[in-house]
C-alpha cells in the first residue's frame, strides 16, 4: 500500500504541474486582458495602459510569465490580485471559502440524510403506488432545470409570499452600527455549527451499539433536544448575545439557498440508494434473515441499509469534491458572495492570479479526495484490493 501511495503522489505531482500549465495557457487564450478597459477611458494619458501592463509584468512574453508564475507558485507566492490590488488571492479565498463551505456543508449533510432515508423506504416499498409517485417526484427534482427552478422559488418565497429575502448575504442597513464585521460573526456561527454537529455525531456513535431500535432512536432524539436547549442558553448569554441579531440576519439569508439546493440535491442520493438497496435485497443473507424471523424493520435498517451505504458514501465523497464547482451557479443566482462567485468573477474579469489560485485550490482538493477515495475503497471493498494486486 505504501508503495502505491508514493507512486500515486508522484503521478499526482506531474498531473498537477500539467494542470497548472494548461490552465495558465487557457486563461491567456482569452482575448484582451484585465486592464483592457483602461484603453476606453479618454481621460487617461495614452501611455498609462502600457505603464500599468509593465507594472503587473503583463508586457513580458507568455512563456516567460508562465515560467515565473510556476516557479513562484511552488515557492508559495501566488502574486497579487489585478482587480483588488493590495489583496493577495489567498486573502480573497480565505474570506470567501468559509461562506461556501458553510452553505454547502449544511446542504450536503441534510440532503444525504434525507436522501438515504427516502431511498431506503422506496426500495422497501417496491412496486407500490406510492413508490412510483415518490420516485417520479425525485426524478423531477433530480433533473429539474436548476436555474429556472431556483428563480421560481425566489419568486414564490421572496416576492409573492415575501417570507424570505431575495438573495444576498445580509441586509446592509442592519449592519450600519454593528460593532464588528460580518466575517467575525460568521466565523463564530461556523464554530457553533461545527460544535453542534460534533455533539450530535458523538451521540450517534455512542448509541450505535444499542440493540433496541426504539430506545436508540429515543436517545438520539434526546441528544437533539439537549442541543437545542444548550444552544438557546449559548446565544442568550455573554458575548454571543451581542452577535445574536447579526447572526440571525445571516441565517435568515441562508434559508432559501439551503432549501432550494437541498431539494435538488437530495434526489440524487435517494435514487442511488434505491438502486443499491434493491440490489442488496436480492442477496441470500436477506432471505436468511427473513427465514430467521427477524422483524422487517430490523432487516431493512440493519441488514440491508448498511450494505447499501457503501456506494452512497463514495458518491458523497465525490459530491464534496464538486462543491466549489457546483456552487458557481447557485451563488450567481442567490448572489451569495462565496467561492463560486469569486471563481466566476475572476475568470470573467481575467484576474489571472486569483483565477489560477481558485483553479489550483479546486484541483488540489479534487486530487487529494480522489486519492483518499481510492484508498478507502480498497479498504472497504476487499474485491477491489484483490483486483489491484492481480
Amino acid at each position: 500500500m505504501g508503495e502505491y501511495i508514493i507512486k500515486r503522489t508522484l503521478q499526482m505531482t506531474v498531473v498537477f504541474f500539467l494542470f497548472l500549465v494548461f490552465s495558465y495557457l487557457l486563461f491567456n487564450a482569452i482575448p484582451g486582458n484585465a486592464f483592457s478597459n483602461l484603453l476606453l477611458n479618454p481621460d487617461l494619458p495614452p501611455d498609462a495602459y502600457n505603464r500599468v501592463l509593465e507594472l503587473y509584468g503583463l508586457d513580458k512574453p507568455l512563456f516567460e510569465r508562465l515560467q515565473l508564475y510556476i516557479v513562484n507558485f511552488f515557492k508559495g507566492d501566488f502574486g497579487y490580485s489585478y482587480k483588488s490590488f493590495p489583496k493577495t488571492p489567498i486573502e480573497l479565498i480565505a474570506e470567501r471559502l468559509p461562506r461556501t463551505l458553510m452553505l454547502f456543508a449544511i446542504v450536503n449533510i441534510v440532503s444525504f440524510y434525507t436522501g438515504f432515508f427516502i431511498g431506503k423506504i422506496l426500495a422497501w416499498r417496491r412496486g407500490s403506488k406510492s413508490e412510483t409517485w415518490i420516485t417520479l417526484t425525485s426524478v423531477f427534482s433530480y433533473t429539474v432545470f436548476y436555474p429556472w427552478f431556483a428563480l421560481m422559488m425566489l419568486w414564490v418565497f421572496g416576492y409573492k409570499l415575501g417570507w424570505l429575502p431575495i438573495g444576498k448575504f445580509l441586509y446592509p442597513e442592519k449592519w450600519y452600527d454593528a460593532p464588528f464585521d460580518s466575517d467575525i460573526v460568521f466565523s463564530s456561527m461556523i464554530k457553533f455549527t461545527i460544535v453542534v454537529s460534533l455533539i450530535q455525531f458523538a451521540a450517534y456513535l455512542a448509541t450505535r451499539g444499542i440493540e433496541s431500535l426504539s430506545s436508540r432512536r429515543n436517545l438520539r432524539f434526546a441528544s437533539l433536544i439537549a442541543i437545542f436547549i444548550g444552544s438557546y442558553f449559548y446565544w442568550n448569554n455573554g458575548a454571543a448575545l451581542i452577535k445574536k441579531p447579526y447572526a440571525a440576519d445571516i441565517a435568515y439569508h441562508m434559508i432559501l439557498p439551503v432549501m432550494v439546493v437541498t431539494i435538488v440535491a437530495f434526489a440524487g442520493t435517494a435514487l442511488l440508494t434505491r438502486t443499491t438497496m434493491m440490489e442488496v435485497l436480492k442477496e441470500d443473507y436477506i432471505l436468511t434473515a427473513r427465514a430467521k424471523g427477524i422483524s422487517q424493520k430490523r432487516i431493512r435498517d440493519r441488514h440491508a441499509a448498511r450494505t447499501a451505504l457503501l456506494p452512497v458514501v463514495t458518491s458523497f465523497i465525490f459530491t464534496i469534491v464538486t462543491i466549489i464547482d457546483g456552487s458557481v451557479l447557485t451563488e450567481q443566482i442567490f448572489s451569495w458572495p462565496g467561492m463560486g462567485q469569486l471563481l466566476l468573477q475572476s475568470v470573467l474579469e481575467e484576474d489571472i492570479p486569483v483565477a489560477m489560485a481558485c483553479f489550483s485550490f479546486v484541483g488540489v482538493f479534487a486530487l487529494v479526495a480522489h486519492l483518499l477515495a481510492d484508498i478507502s475503497y480498497s479498504y472497504l471493498d476487499p474485491r477491489i484490493r484483490i483486483k489491484s494486486q492481480g
Binding site: 503521478q11 499526482m12 506531474v14 498531473v15 500539467l18 494542470f19 494548461f22 490552465s23 487557457l26 486563461f27 487564450a29 482569452i30 482575448p31 417496491r126 412496486g127 412510483t132 420516485t135 417520479l136 426524478v139 423531477f140 433530480y142 433533473t143 429539474v144 432545470f145 436548476y146 436555474p147 429556472w148 427552478f149 428563480l151 421560481m152 419568486w155 416576492y159 409573492k160 435514487l271 438502486t275 434493491m278 440490489e279 436480492k282 469534491v321 466549489i324 464547482d325 458557481v328 451557479l329 471563481l343 466566476l344 475568470v347 470573467l348 483565477a355 483553479f359 479546486v362 484541483g363 479534487a366 486530487l367 480522489h370 483486483k387
Partner: protein, 357 residues
C-alpha cells in the same frame, strides 16, 4: 448452404434476445413513462419540419427565430382617476380594466382622446387557437420555439453522448486490458479532466470560441468521455477480463485487439449504453445552463427561451405570462427526466439483480 442456416439462426437469436429484453423493459413502469416522454418530444421535434414542408404553417408567421404575427386588439382609451375607489374602479389595480388602455401610456400616439378606440399589438400574446402557447415579446410563436428547442436538445444530446461514450468505452477497455503504464496514463488523464471546474471552463471556452450547437456537443462529449466515465467503464471491463471465456479466447490464439473488440467490448456495451442515456441528461442540462447565461451562439433553444424571459423581466412577473416561463423550463426538465427514467428501465434489463423476480 450451411452458412446461410447459420446466419438465419444468428438473426433469429438476435431477434429473440431483443424481444426478451423488450419484455423485461416493458415490465418497469418508470422506464415506460420515460420512453413515452422521449417519444413525445421526438414527435414534436419531427413535427415542425413536417408542418413547414407541407405548408400548414407559414414560415413567415411560425418561424421560431424570425417569424412574426401582429395580433391586434381594439382597446378603449380611458383615463385613470387620481383617487380610488371610484364607481368603476375599486383600486389602482383595476385600472385599466379588461379591453381598456390608460391614455397616459399613449403619449407617443398624438391625437388620441379619451373614449376613442385604439388598435394595439399584443406582444406577448396569450395562447389562442392560432398560437397554441402564445407568442413571446417579439411576436414569435412559443410552441414553434419549443419544437425547435427539442430538435436542438436531441441533436446535442445524441451527438455528445455518442461521442463521449465512444471515447470512454474504448479508452476504458484499453486501460483495463493493457494495464500498467497505459492504465496509469489514462487514469491520470481523467483526473486532470475531473480537476477542471466544468462551468468556468465552459465560460473560458465560450470566451475565445463562438460556440455553436455541434461545437458544444463535441466539447461536452470529449470532456465527458475523458472524465469520470473512463474509470467506471474500466472497472466493468476489469470484471469481464477475468472471465473464463477471455482466457479460452487467448489460448485459442486470438490476438489482443481481436479479444478486446469482439469479446470484451460487447460485454461492456450494456453499461456503455446506460452511460449514454444518462449523459444525454447531462448534455441537455449543460446546454440549457450555458444558453441561460447567454454564452452560446445559437438561434433558439429552451435555455435561450428562459434567458429571454428572464432578461425581458417576465420571470418575476409571476404567472401572468406563464406561457413564457413554464413551457421551456418544463420541457428541459421533462426531457432530461424522461431520458433518466429510460436509463433506469435499461438498468433493470441489464442488471439481473435489480429485477423484480
Amino acid at each position: 448452404m450451411n452458412k446461410n442456416i447459420e446466419q438465419d439462426l444468428q438473426k433469429q437469436l438476435r431477434k429473440e434476445a431483443i424481444r426478451k429484453n423488450w419484455n423485461l423493459f416493458r415490465q418497469s413502469k418508470l422506464g415506460m413513462i420515460g420512453l413515452y416522454i422521449v417519444i413525445f418530444f421526438l414527435f414534436l421535434a419531427l413535427l415542425q419540419p413536417f408542418l413547414f414542408i407541407t405548408g400548414i404553417w407559414n414560415k413567415g408567421v411560425y418561424d421560431p427565430v424570425v417569424g412574426y404575427e401582429a395580433i391586434k386588439d381594439t382597446l378603449l382609451v380611458v383615463e385613470c382617476p387620481k383617487e380610488y375607489p371610484t364607481e368603476k374602479y375599486e383600486s389602482m389595480k383595476d385600472c385599466p380594466g379588461e379591453g381598456e388602455i390608460n391614455v397616459k401610456r399613449l403619449y407617443l400616439a398624438p391625437g388620441v382622446e379619451v373614449g376613442d378606440y385604439y388598435e394595439a399589438f399584443i406582444q406577448p400574446a396569450p395562447p389562442s387557437s392560432r398560437h397554441l402557447l402564445g407568442t413571446d415579446s417579439l411576436g414569435r410563436d412559443v410552441f414553434s420555439q419549443i419544437m425547435e428547442g427539442s430538435q436542438v436538445a436531441f441533436v446535442l444530446g445524441f451527438l455528445s453522448a455518442t461521442l463521449g461514450v465512444g471515447i470512454s468505452t474504448i479508452l476504458g477497455t484499453i486501460a483495463a486490458f493493457f494495464g500498467g503504464r497505459v492504465d496509469a496514463y489514462l487514469m491520470r488523464q481523467s483526473d486532470l479532466i475531473l480537476m477542471l471546474p466544468s462551468l468556468p471552463l465552459l465560460f473560458i471556452i465560450s470566451a475565445f470560441a463562438e460556440l455553436k450547437v455541434w461545437h458544444l456537443a463535441i466539447v461536452l462529449g470529449v470532456l465527458g468521455g475523458l472524465g469520470g466515465s473512463v474509470i467506471t467503464i474500466k472497472s466493468q471491463a476489469l470484471q469481464v477480463k477475468v472471465k473464463p471465456f477471455v482466457d479460452s479466447a487467448r489460448i485459442t490464439g486470438g490476438s489482443r485487439w481481436r479479444i478486446m473488440f469482439s469479446h470484451v467490448l460487447p460485454n461492456v456495451a450494456p453499461l456503455a449504453l446506460l452511460f449514454m442515456v444518462f449523459s444525454v441528461t447531462g448534455a441537455i442540462a449543460s446546454e440549457s445552463v450555458l444558453s441561460f447565461l447567454g454564452l452560446l451562439n445559437i438561434d433558439m433553444s429552451w435555455g435561450i427561451m428562459i434567458y429571454l424571459s428572464q432578461t425581458d423581466g417576465f420571470i418575476f412577473s409571476g404567472l401572468e405570462f406563464w406561457w413564457l416561463i413554464l413551457p421551456a423550463g418544463l420541457a428541459v426538465t421533462l426531457l432530461a427526466g424522461g431520458f433518466y427514467l429510460v436509463g433506469r428501465g435499461l438498468d433493470d434489463v441489464f442488471n439481473p439483480r435489480l429485477r423484480k423476480r
